[in-house]
Symmetry: C3
Subunit: 543 residues, 3 copies
């Protein structure tokens, strides 16, 4: 009986056992108490009366009674709790990625009014409509073809708890290594890709793709046939963008340069300075060459004329919308917020805003010193240039590096605009080649210089353990990987875009008639003026 | 031996025991280790030194030390953890529902500039002010009266962990079944409805209601007395909208058609093609009849004249803002993101964007083929029509069905606009009757056709277990429930709106004087021009 | 003894006790079962086949397999689960605070077009550029200097799981109590402040600071030298704003009036009616005095002339953008959503929208009754006045009180505008002194009147246990604390701002030449017109 009493006493006093029994000998240390299902079920919840009385403070709402129970007879179990923890984790990541994706989608509005504002009033309907429909044209191409090519073999994205159906990458073996070329699942989101995780990926990647497409409309505005724009944009959303994006983000060969060839962590482009902005900017360059300058842009001696935008308010409002959307673009590119190093989203967001600020400053002062006035259009472009440049490194660098990257971007965009206009004799209505092309490349390179090795996204990047580290922090291989990416952008994307748009030029024709261009594209192309009631100055209708 | 048996019995009764005891005889299998309070308390946390040194990677931040402890002396317990899990779950749902609600609120800005841009410059101040104040007028009506009618008896919304105070629905018994007619709690958010869950409901439902109200201002613009607009909108926010919304969403009779009469899952309107858009569009139809066409809209022979909008840039910018807000409208209508099938928010979001895209395509090509140009205004409207149509089915259908629904919507809006203008001889300034009324009804019907039975929101919808399934997937009853909803929209909402606004017409008068209309409403109604400094073409002031 | 050992072994290995043993004697009650590591590891997860087949319903995604495992050999442990709970909690708070911060940033766009729209077309480029660059100028000042001063000693912010590196407040001892004056960490976000929690703080506080700065540009528009604006704004972002914000929010002396002197909970300003709006409005007052009225604003007899804004559409669109952003401003000021009473974010959001609504009503009707028309500009300003006034009390009051506070604000802003213009003879282009200054002070005072003591943010505010409670609910001390804050705003902030800007006036000069002002600032200051193609009425160029 003594034994039984002892057993009971031990059990009673501690609800646990030997460790506790020992604890009584060493009262300083608390003895561990086992946890039972009763502890779970007994977690305190408000009474129905309390709930019906209202919870003004918000301290009763959100309690153990809200956790879904798998077996009502059993009540709440530890496994329900564990399931809820996993569910909460992925839900938080869904919320983050979806909302940041929505912000990125809203950038379309920013691009639309920046481009329209930098164009002339006689083309406002046409420029707005290109920017409006590029959203739909790109989405159609991507839904039908592009998404599958880009992401069809990306595999399971841990932060989204899934995307397992995206399991088919077409790869060839070269030099004894696998080279992923394109994905093969996900067309029209049918079959197994009718999946909640895949849907997040589609939404987020779609709006990125559309960002790249809308860059081109800015360069070729005020002279692009609307029908040709649709064809060209469709091809870009179906093929050009998805191919490069597959190589960089979809498990393709650029991403595996690290794991296959030891070049740092492979091509690292956090949110797409290269994938999105350079692909857009380089395609814009090809289009600028093919479509030629607007009538009146260059004099007979080759000297350029400034053609000011018709609405600076729209331009700068658009820049703010873009900066707002960029807080989706860069921080959202983690595809998650919870655990696995994802809290660095805050650092990404701060880097993004600092680089934009730095770009606007250096660009504004460059113009002010060089031309005597703080030009609004170029200040806006320099702001965007800083944002473009920080897009690739935003996840890998310090705030100070972000400021430096932005300061360089702000001057670079001015120099690049001058170079494109005066040396290349190209007409880029909004400066997109310089903002997105030049500074996209600068952003890709800057990863290879400034990445500080302090980030940690689930312990690896592109399958290479550890953190992306640039030359200034000791990894020259990373810079090489970045330069391979840049070479591919210029070598492949430019060539491919040029050939595609050259074929469209031959088969269909990119450019409107001179008469149409001089009178404005709105009536002949779209059937209605942008501003039918406002009186415009005479030159607005002819130059 | 008795003692041993007792000990064994204890062990067995506690869910472990014998099997575990045996496990020690079979060392191949790891023995389950009980979890104690020491495991909870011992979960690893960073030291103060580590924290003060900064967490650049974000891998130390967010750890067990952040979980609130109910009893500081005890330290962290399993019950604290379980409480935190329930708290996190509801917090994630609050974050999701609030932010998506904010996005919906922002749609007011989109409506404002779409409607103003499609009107003429001489009425810009008046059209903007109607769109601006409809937000406040509707909110006042809803706070005082409407919310209680709509949601006063909705009961506890699980995703929000509460809203328990909304527990009073007025119902009558008819044919042996309960028919809920209106709610009776929540006026002015006082008493027990001063509750954090109720507040989320109020915010989210308020911005939906305001969306319905702002639809009417588009149809009746450019001739509506500002004071009459305020009265009419107040009644709509206090009664018209809340009544139908109660029947569909607040626990009223349309929602219980499934549980009471076996008609599918009852009237199913995921995000309000019917509740919001058709109620708005049908009321707009009543207003168009009562207020009559603008001077100059129809010739003596009844043929209509086109009156182009004054600013296409505003119109398409507004469409983008609306599309951005629609990512709140539809995906937010789960009222949650975590667990219970809520991750389908991603599917809802993708369906939404696909249908908008499809609508813009089919509408644009319809206009292009029929009239020779890809009209911007109608392309924008077709885009919105796709979004309106997918609103009801977005939570229940596949991506492919969403594209089909959108394609149909884009053509339907064009046909409907022609019908309203040419057959009904009504003047709908922005096409709201067709965009929201016609396509709202199309959306409601499409649920009854395309719902695929794959969704699963906590296992039931409108109290009927299983998933909403349409005719094409085998449930004809669902289509019947949808058609009952459509009949109610046309039979009740139209009649009620017509009578209310006809009384206002008699008692107060909806329409401004012809002189005011011809000269523009801005000075006589609002006291200031919208654009006092810009020179307008002569006809802008008279037609 | 063997039995005892066995009993102990069982007890130890499984852990339970008398209550459980007794349960076997009372079979009606289920016996508690100990939870083991096998329960955790055995929590159900989908098979790879299920995952690859796609999860259309979203019921398989987000499960125990998504919880990061610290030791792959061990598999999932309870400590991993607890770590994930803490991680989810902070992640949800990060998501909330970052996204609401993004919304606040977007308010810059709203301010930009409200101010530009209320100005004249000839100054549109200049007004937009001031509003555009104030974002960058403020951010540069804050990153270099201001953030450290404001937040360098704020200590660990629990909702963000960290910010521990911000641990250095400079304080003096006065009357036996510590008076915090400014922080000393965080400059350029270097060293230990390269931390994910600090980054959230920086982002959120930065956009608040920028809001204060952009208020001043509205008052001094249409005559401020662009270079002087940059200098003035830099000083305000580096010193003026951060100092007061440190005293109110950064652990400085105003916040400790409660804990040190028993004045309620110390100066309580939930989201910054005082810290942000009054600091902006009071500085705007100082600038209005120094820079003087626009040419033509006042007649020789001192009577004022109305100078209407050039684009009402822009103004009201901007008001909507501001209201959208305010849903970040106020609800985001909890810095978290999960647990600790943070669910009151919904109440904060509803209070915010109700007060805006109430303000727009009372202001509109005041104007309508007094001047015969529902003036759009003043209705917009009254809407903003309601939002400004509710900013401080939004976290502490009922919906009904919010409506009352807003109703008063809407009239107050009209009276204040009249006073500023007719009595003070000051020229405030957009009414910012009245909207932000007067109503900011009203908001601060209203906390001391209407706070209802029902809120509960982790049990304390400013280190004083319990809830902020105003005079009408029994705590007169709180009102005194608020009045001390108001006195500081008027006594210190006004004086400091006046002296700083007076020095700039002497050393550099704030005002453009009369010729520049009459012709418009766009060409002389910025080098380009805002609307180069539109024909403006003659007076637009001269008045």
């Amino acid at each position: 009986m003594k034994e039984v009493l002892l057993a009971l006493a031990v059990a009673w006093s501690l609800g646990t056992g030997l460790a506790h029994a020992q604890a009584t000998d060493a009262p300083a240390a608390a003895a561990p108490t086992p946890i039972t299902d009763a502890d779970i079920k007994g977690a305190p919840t408000p009474t129905p009366e309390q709930k019906a009385a209202g919870d003004a403070a918000g301290t009763l709402t959100g309690n153990p009674a809200d956790i879904p129970v798998s077996d009502a007879k059993k009540g709440l179990t530890i496994q329900d709790v564990v399931t809820a923890v996993g569910g909460n984790l992925i839900a938080t990541n869904f919320v983050w990625t979806l909302i940041t994706g929505f912000l990125v989608m809203f950038m379309q509005a920013g691009f639309a009014i920046v481009e329209t504002g930098l164009g002339r009033a006689k083309n406002a309907n046409h420029t707005m409509m290109m920017n409006f429909m590029v959203y739909g044209v790109g989405m159609a191409a991507y839904w039908l073809i592009g998404f599958g090519i880009q992401e069809g073999g990306v595999g399971a994205v841990a932060n989204l708890g899934g995307t397992a159906p995206l399991n088919s990458e077409f790869a060839i073996t070269l030099f004894g290594k696998s080279w992923g070329l394109f994905g093969q699942k996900g067309a029209m989101l049918g079959g197994s890709t009718y999946d909640v995780g895949v849907m997040v990926m589609f939404l987020f990647q779609m709006v990125f793709m559309d960002t790249a497409l809308t860059i081109v409309t800015g360069t070729a505005a005020e002279r692009w046939r609307y029908s040709a724009f649709i064809i060209s944009s469709f091809v870009m959303g179906a093929l050009t963008y998805p191919l490069f994006a597959n190589w960089a983000w979809g498990g393709g060969w650029l991403a595996t340069l690290g794991s296959s060839y030891g070049l740092g962590h492979g091509y690292a482009d956090f949110a797409g300075s290269g994938v999105v902005h350079s692909v857009g900017g380089v395609t814009a360059l090809a289009m600028a060459i093919i479509i030629g300058p607007r009538i009146g842009k260059f004099n007979r001696d080759g000297s350029p004329n400034a053609i000011p935008g018709h609405d600076i308010t729209l331009v700068l409002l658009g820049c703010f919308i873009l900066a707002f959307g960029w807080f989706g673009f860069n921080p959202g590119s983690t595809l998650g917020a919870a655990l696995n190093g994802n809290l660095r989203i805050s650092s990404v967001a701060v880097n993004t805003m600092l680089a934009g600020m730095a770009g606007s400053f250096s660009g504004m002062y460059y113009m002010w010193i060089r031309y005597g006035k703080p030009d609004a259009s170029m200040t806006g472009n320099a702001f965007l240039a800083g944002l473009v440049a920080i897009t690739a490194p935003s996840g890998f660098v310090t705030p100070m590096s972000s400021v430096i990257i932005g300061l360089i971007a702000g001057v670079l965009v001015c120099l690049s605009c001058e170079f494109v206009e005066r040396k290349l004799k190209l007409d880029d209505v909004v400066g997109a080649i310089s903002v997105h092309g030049t500074n996209g490349i600068w952003g890709v390179i800057s990863v290879g210089l400034f990445a500080d090795g302090k980030s940690n996204y689930a312990g690896a990047w592109n399958g290479v353990p550890g953190s992306v580290t640039g030359l200034f922090y000791g990894d020259a291989g990373q810079l090489v990987a970045q330069l391979v990416g840049v070479a591919t952008l210029i070598g492949f994307v430019f060539t491919f875009s040029f050939v595609v748009n050259w074929i469209i030029e031959i088969a269909w024709g990119h450019r409107v008639q001179p008469k149409v261009e001089l009178g404005g594209l709105d009536i002949p192309e779209m059937g209605a003026l942008g501003y039918p009631e406002f009186v415009l100055k005479d030159e607005a209708l002819t130059v």
